[in-house]
Amino acid sequence: MFKRKDGMSRALVRRETIAGYLFMLPSLLFFLVFVIYPMFMCIYTSFFDSTMGKDVKDVFIGFRNYVELFHDSVFLGALRNTLVIVLVSVPITCMFSLWVASAIYDMKDWACSLFRCVFYLPVVTGSVAVTVVWKWMFNNYYGIFNYLLKNMGIIDKNINWLGDPKYALGCIILILLTTSVGQPIVLYVSALSNVDQSLVEAAEVDGATRNQCFWRIKWPQIMPTTLYILVITTINSFQCFALIQLLTSGGPNHSTDTIMYYIYYTAFKLYRYGYGNAMGVILMIIIALLSAVQFKVAQTNN
């Protein structure tokens, strides 16, 4: 990378390196101390029986936390729920936002940015405010859902949406969807506006139908955006926490536990530090693998 033909360029490389690191220093400091170090500690502590107690020393137990994990039915249930959430919400989020984006990207400027804002609103409103209002809307007695559905004659008895294992996870996925389409829509609108128009026009001249135009010409061009959206929505769905904690606390009877919520529960309610970290490591591995697969797909596509 660095050609060192004479003393001059070596001095230059040194100068650049020193300047480079000095510029990087403040950022690197925060990055190493508050991101990289805890990440390593997460892996390290997962091999210990560790509690939050002041005088209790951590005990090295090797892979015992991991062995226990795969015999822990609550963890396996949480893993299953998380996968359900990811498998349902990620494709729907992508398709929904692609459809919305393709409907609004060629509208007039003001309309396009108005709709972009509207679909982003639930994200900006914040997970706590969004969750508490949905909790009210889903409420057994005073919720608007039961009222509307009863008036329309779809149900005849009030349904305890969040208290019934049959419905609770579905409700959570619905709320998650409304809070996760904002960013993909913005990305798709910008990707669709950057599609090479001359290709589209050429295809139209050749008599391509609307569908052909979309799948043959636009779709390949917005592929990188789709992959990026897949990665971020997957990571976000895996980290679903605030919704669970505020809506159901993992209940009824652990039916809505996600990995992230169960990590929180183990570490901060049961004070089982090492065990919680072991779950964190599993989550990291799953996400790293998925990201790697998605990046590989991206590379072969390019």
Partner: protein, 306 residues
């Protein structure tokens, strides 16, 4: 436009408008709900528009708990004092806790925003324009960290913060936000557009590194910094999980955390909870609407080559 038939266009517009109404409905429900009296909140058939407007929910919210409006500590005094508590040099008048939570949240979001922008601008510029040894390693590390779930580090982070005696202070929330490398990545994308000839010319003219940065580079990457600023502000405002773990005492809570606690204690007083939710959500929504152009730009720029 030619690619869409008129019939389809009308159909899709109608669906989009309906969806837009559904997406704004929760916010509408928060705001109208916060002004409804208990009678309407707990009625069997909900009212779409408050029949009688009341401020009672807000009054209850403001009378719940009290806290001083601000407390200024002697920096690092908690490390010197034997009991581990800081020396407070100035504390404000006693106000409703919700007001203090807003002050905390604004302070946290502004501090996180300023620190992130400064550090990320410097680092992003160096990554884009300096050819230093180890550059590609640092960059790979940053990209890999971004692909990992940031919430899994919260458990070790809690321990680290307690040993640094930052636990239950607002800094415990601010520092990890500053450390998150998305900002560096974003600024790098912008800084790559700065022409190298301009930088070389500045060096030949004898401008120092810092002067080159502040007088030449910074004005050129300003749109990127603006996008990062608004992005960090909104995200840190809403970063509930970290706040939940790091902050405990009433006077240190953020507004989202305060509302979540309120909800835990008064689970069925929906009017009161909606008033809290409105106080938490309306300021950040206004900020978003004012700066949404920069915000959109930040999202799209961060995705390029993601």
């Amino acid at each position: 436009m030619k690619t869409k038939s008129t019939g389809y266009r009308i159909f899709s517009t109608i669906v989009i408008v309906l969806l837009a109404i559904l997406f704004t409905f929760p916010l509408y429900w928060i705001i109208t709900g916060s002004f409804k009296p208990a009678k309407e909140i707990n009625a069997k058939s909900p009212t779409w528009w408050p029949q009688t407007w009341t401020m009672k929910n807000y009054k209850t919210l403001m009378s719940k708990q009290k806290a001083p409006l601000w407390e200024i500590e002697v920096p690092f005094s908690r490390y010197i004092n034997e009991d581990g508590n800081p020396t407070v040099i100035s504390s404000g008048p006693t106000v409703p806790a919700a007001i203090r939570w807003l002050v905390n949240t604004v302070f946290m979001a502004v501090a996180a925003m300023l620190l992130t922008c400064l550090t990320a601008a410097l680092a992003g510029y160096a990554l884009a324009k300096k050819r230093f040894i180890g550059r590609s390693i640092v960059f790979t590390l940053i990209v890999c960290a971004m692909a990992l779930p940031k919430q899994v580090i919260l458990i070790p982070l809690l321990r680290e913060m307690s040993s640094l005696q930052l636990y239950n202070t607002i800094w415990a929330v601010i520092f990890p936000i500053v450390g998150w490398p998305f900002g560096v990545f974003l600024i790098k994308q912008f800084a790559e557009g700065v022409p190298s000839e301009v930088l070389e010319a500045a060096t030949i003219d004898g401008a120092s590194e810092l002067r080159t940065f502040f007088q030449i580079v910074f004005p050129m990457i300003k749109p990127g910094v603006g996008a990062l600023a608004i992005f960090t502000f909104i995200n840190s405002w809403n970063d509930y999980f970290m706040q939940l773990i790091m902050l405990t005492s009433t006077r240190n809570l953020t507004i989202s955390l305060g509302i979540a606690k309120l909800q835990g204690e008064n689970a069925t007083d929906f009017g009161l909870i909606m008033a809290g939710a409105a106080v938490a959500a309306v300021p950040i929504i206004i900020v978003f609407l004012i700066f949404q152009k920069y915000f959109t730009k930040g999202i799209t720029m961060g995705a390029v080559k993601g």
